[in-house]
Symmetry: C2
Subunit: 306 residues, 2 copies
């Protein structure tokens, strides 16, 4: 049968989904081999894809890359140690008869959530994933907005503090990622627990899940940490809403597993911080988890085939 592969390349692992008639029939994962500046990555994907297609005919492959993408060309992907690379051309050299699409990974996940997940009900929404970092994508009129250099939705780097208080991995300071990602939450927890009576003291290694669990149990300091995260993240959300006035925010990533405990606080503070005419935004949880990328990349190929 005819199949389409959705490939989601991350800094840690690579997920491949095999779709027949729009249905996920098989899913596999391999570690991302970043040796020698990531030169083996695409070949290892090709091997996996060849195994998975087996007796079926692969007619399309959609791939998502953690970096800016313009017309199939990846401008650079730090987490893969890639510099500029014409990924689409390389894939089409290997598989000349298929349709190939290349997206930024967060944009692919956004498309996945639009078609199969938390964004199904909305014409205009912003997908934001809060994990180790914060990324996102923007849908306007049921279309992905990729941006002039494939970097729409770099919302993790919205500046929400002044005075260069926390340095970001991007080289800049005070990006929201440094306050509201899992990493940022842990930083705040380590700062705020000093000299305080809190169960956060009992932990040798703190995770953002610990913070939310303790906050839910009523630990005051853990709740302060959550409030701090909410303040910074809501500020970023208000900046996004003031700029593009979406109907909904679809929130995913590991930190979103804190669920309504987090979402309700975010929505409340957001409504205080956003301009009056853009406040009426629905908050939705993402639905596809780590599969959003493979779904989105598959969808992009099917649109291209049409």
């Amino acid at each position: 049968m005819k199949c389409i592969m959705g490939v989601d390349v991350g800094g840690t692992d690579i997920k491949v989904g095999k779709f027949i008639d729009g249905k996920l029939v098989e899913k596999r994962k391999i570690p991302t081999n970043r040796a020698d500046n990531g030169v083996y990555i695409l070949n290892e994907i090709f091997n996996l894809v060849d195994q998975m297609s087996s007796n079926d005919e692969m007619i399309g492959l959609g791939i998502g890359i953690p970096g800016p993408v313009v017309n199939g060309v990846v401008l650079g992907a730090q987490n893969l140690r890639w510099k500029r690379m014409d990924v689409k051309q390389i894939i089409l050299n290997r598989y000349p008869n298929i349709v190939c699409t290349v997206l930024n990974d967060a944009n692919a996940a956004t498309l996945g959530e639009m078609v199969f997940g938390g964004g199904r009900a909305y014409n205009d929404f912003v997908f934001i994933t809060i994990g180790t970092g914060i990324g996102g994508g923007i849908i306007i009129n049921r279309k992905l907005v990729e941006g002039s250099t494939g970097s729409c939705g770099e919302v993790g780097h919205l500046r929400v503090e002044v005075g260069n208080k926390r340095k970001c991995t991007c080289g800049l300071y005070d990006c929201v990622e440094q306050y509201a990602s899992a990493t940022g939450i842990v930083k705040t927890a380590i700062e705020l627990r000093v000299g305080r009576q809190t169960k956060l003291q009992d932990l040798r290694v703190i995770t953002s899940k610990d913070v939310f669990d303790l906050a839910k149990q009523g630990d005051d300091v853990a709740n302060e940490v959550v409030d701090h995260m909410v303040e910074k993240f809501s500020t970023a959300l208000s900046q996004i809403a003031n700029t593009i006035n979406p109907q909904a925010f679809v929130i995913g990533g590991g930190v979103s597993h804190a669920g309504n405990f987090l979402i309700e606080r975010l929505a409340d503070r957001f409504r205080q911080l956003a301009f009056f005419s853009v406040r009426d935004v629905v908050f939705e949880l993402a639905k596809l988890g780590n599969d959003a990328g493979i779904y989105g990349n598959m969808y992009q190929v099917t649109q291209e085939i049409k």
Copy 2:
């Protein structure tokens, strides 16, 4: 001959342009009558439009309103003292045989600059007008993005400080408008001149033009005021770029008359503050001045007629 009216309603005055075959043939201005919650405004526009169309046949009227607009309905316009009003229906009741469009005023100006002004060369750009306040509009793929409640591009209310330092007319704190608009620049000047040797001391009333003129002449304190404005405005620009990754910023409004003296500083600081993959943005000055609105409203009607 067939004519189209472009109407730009502001809090101070109302401008009407008469266009024949896309060319501006006549332009008039009346003061905005805000008496009795602005109930006379539309009738006064109708009277002016009737005078101006005279022997020509008005086939379309496009109007821009300083407030959020959805499907021809104005959700509210503080500067006109209007609450929710179905402006399109009221206009069509008066002129049943014309095509009528209603836009937010900043969005109309954005369209004007796209078709006839500083945005002609760009598929994706953000228009920002810096005057008494700061407003804007967003073009993606040569299309105006109006937003889910007609409030795309409310960039004057991006938050660029923390700690509730300056209260904004919108009720919130630390909006960029409070730092980078003409009003904001004057506030900063009054703060920074205290106890300092500067020609700003000689002025009984400071305007933003005074600040830029003195800065150009080398006045240190005036240059500090400009730096402060640049810091805050570039922060807002970086937030916009991180969100929607445009090709260009088109900057208009009274403050933009400071010209390249301002634009170059903005561009330099912006490139330091924006995420690496969205830094490559062209800075353009707007070209249509106060006529951007009438051009944009006229254009919107012609598109609707097509």
